[in-house]
Symmetry: C2
Subunit: 337 residues, 2 copies
Amino acid sequence: MVTLAEVAQHAGVSASTVSYVLSGKRSISTTTRRRVEESIRKLGYHPNAGARALASSRSNIIALMIPLRTDMYVPVMMEIAIAVATTARTHGYDVLLLTGEEGPDAVRRVTGSGLADAMIVMDVELDDERLPLLRETDRPSVLIGLPADTTGLTCVDLDFKATGALCVEHLATLGHRDIAVIGEAPAVYERHTGFAERTLDGLRTRSRELGLRLLHRPCEGGYDAMAATLARILDERPDTTGFVVQNEAAVEPLLALLRQQGRAVPEDVSVVAVCPEQVATQASVRLTSVAVPAQEMGRHAVEQLVAKLDGRGSDEVVLLAPELTVRASSGPAPVQS
Amino acid sequence: MVTLAEVAQHAGVSASTVSYVLSGKRSISTTTRRRVEESIRKLGYHPNAGARALASSRSNIIALMIPLRTDMYVPVMMEIAIAVATTARTHGYDVLLLTGEEGPDAVRRVTGSGLADAMIVMDVELDDERLPLLRETDRPSVLIGLPADTTGLTCVDLDFKATGALCVEHLATLGHRDIAVIGEAPAVYERHTGFAERTLDGLRTRSRELGLRLLHRPCEGGYDAMAATLARILDERPDTTGFVVQNEAAVEPLLALLRQQGRAVPEDVSVVAVCPEQVATQASVRLTSVAVPAQEMGRHAVEQLVAKLDGRGSDEVVLLAPELTVRASSGPAPVQS
DNA sequence: GAAAGCTGTCGAAGCGCTTCGACAGCCTAT
DNA sequence: ATAGGCTGTCGAAGCGCTTCGACAGCTTTC
């Protein structure tokens, strides 16, 4: 391993000079800088991460806590993770991958050991047990998601309430009066994951305002679960003509079932999905949808964090505005028979 | 931040004693050990990661390079990543997430800086440019995937050649003579990703041995692409009764199209998929499939790596045996008309 | 032309830990 | 009783870097 000292010797300067060339924290003459940079290149020098962290008490690592379970939104999680990793790199940070498994202990361990300078927490529950720790530590953090109480926290998320409202509005504009919501698996609601409840809130509030009838049914992914759920919905509300789906794994089964039952999309029923773009465009009917802006969320979270680490930035909640893209799965409600 | 020295003082012992309690590298009397442990608990001590890394030249971090593109196998990647992270934790390691973006430079940076003790590389291409670096560095590494030349490398992967053979055998046993393979996107083959080519190899070799007719067509995911590909296949080989699908995003579209064309699964045509279990069980027809053992691959990779870091273990290629699970999408070939 | 201010460089301290050698105190074997 | 061997503990060195204060050699200012 090449060390700073060796570079210094090779360039004929002191170690501190090399350090300052690297960090830019003091001015260095152009000639010296060039000589040092040349030596660094020639020797293939890479600063030792441990030594750096020890001396500067900065590890240049951002911790990312992802959910352990993979019962939902896997591609979204992955996209966020990748956006976080690439954005972090552009700011000189690396990303440490933590699973939710350890729970609050992971937070303690990471902040206590100085392993990471800051952390991003995904899959936040409404009353998450990690929140008190995040609030009291001096390490910056950003949540992707929205807990019940956001005081002293920085959050980034899609505005799911507005998303729900947007879906309902779209269907209402097309003349639909009876709308069914096919939601995430029951476990997701039981866990009080914020986004699911907020979407529902938006759906309900706006429906009421617009005088629509709304029926919400959670649904496991997969064909069989969807079949049962759909049967129930059509039994309870035979006049349903609008569907809002917030469960990737239910999208394709729903379309298949509707087709099978002779209900044409969008002529007889309209479907609006809340899902990644890829799912919407690759489905068997191109779906009118509100996209989950995974990449933007990841990027934004890192940028907030870097700002905080640089002493800029402050606690705030950023809710990204939803955008509804009209595709082939929604159209005017059929004329009342 | 609580330091080792403070713990030592609190427990009335020297710093080195505390260190030895923590590492277990020298014997410590039970009474002392207990006293120290008590102090650690009381003070909420966490060893400083940087200092540790510097003094021991061990960071206790494993780097995981995941592919940047998300054009295939996202859930598999995620499952591997999570398995790696959780397995690593049970051995006292954390995981650093690197995207393929930086390419070979990431390898240089990580090994040069001592950021990670070892690395796991996913999405290996047949002639990957990171391989020379991995071979010459003294840091252990494990590839998930199989390059063309494995000398001096440790690899874990599903035996995709055997997987291909297994799919063909299953269909042959059921009496199918004309088989079509719906593969990954063309880009995947152009990139010479090992698994795709190896599967194809297995499919072809075994077909030849069994006297079957085999047609391979790459396919982008999604409904439209699948429609075009299927039309082509049935045009070229109208007698096709067996399908092997190796592209998650093509599975559901294929089933929908077959249904739409009045080809019943499994009465008229059989479908065998190479995909994660979840996809197979949640599809609109429960799919006969060979599972990609993502979790096992991740776990195995970490265990190999830990063995190497402990001075045990050696270079070897481990190909996991494929297992075909018969479900509802395959059955006897229809009687020749 | 002396005081004051810059600029560019250096030396040394110290970050918190691991680990090596030393050694005190005790037990066992002769 | 004494040499030798264990066991448990300590002190000190050192890992490779950052950063602070010092200062030499300039330039500017009145």
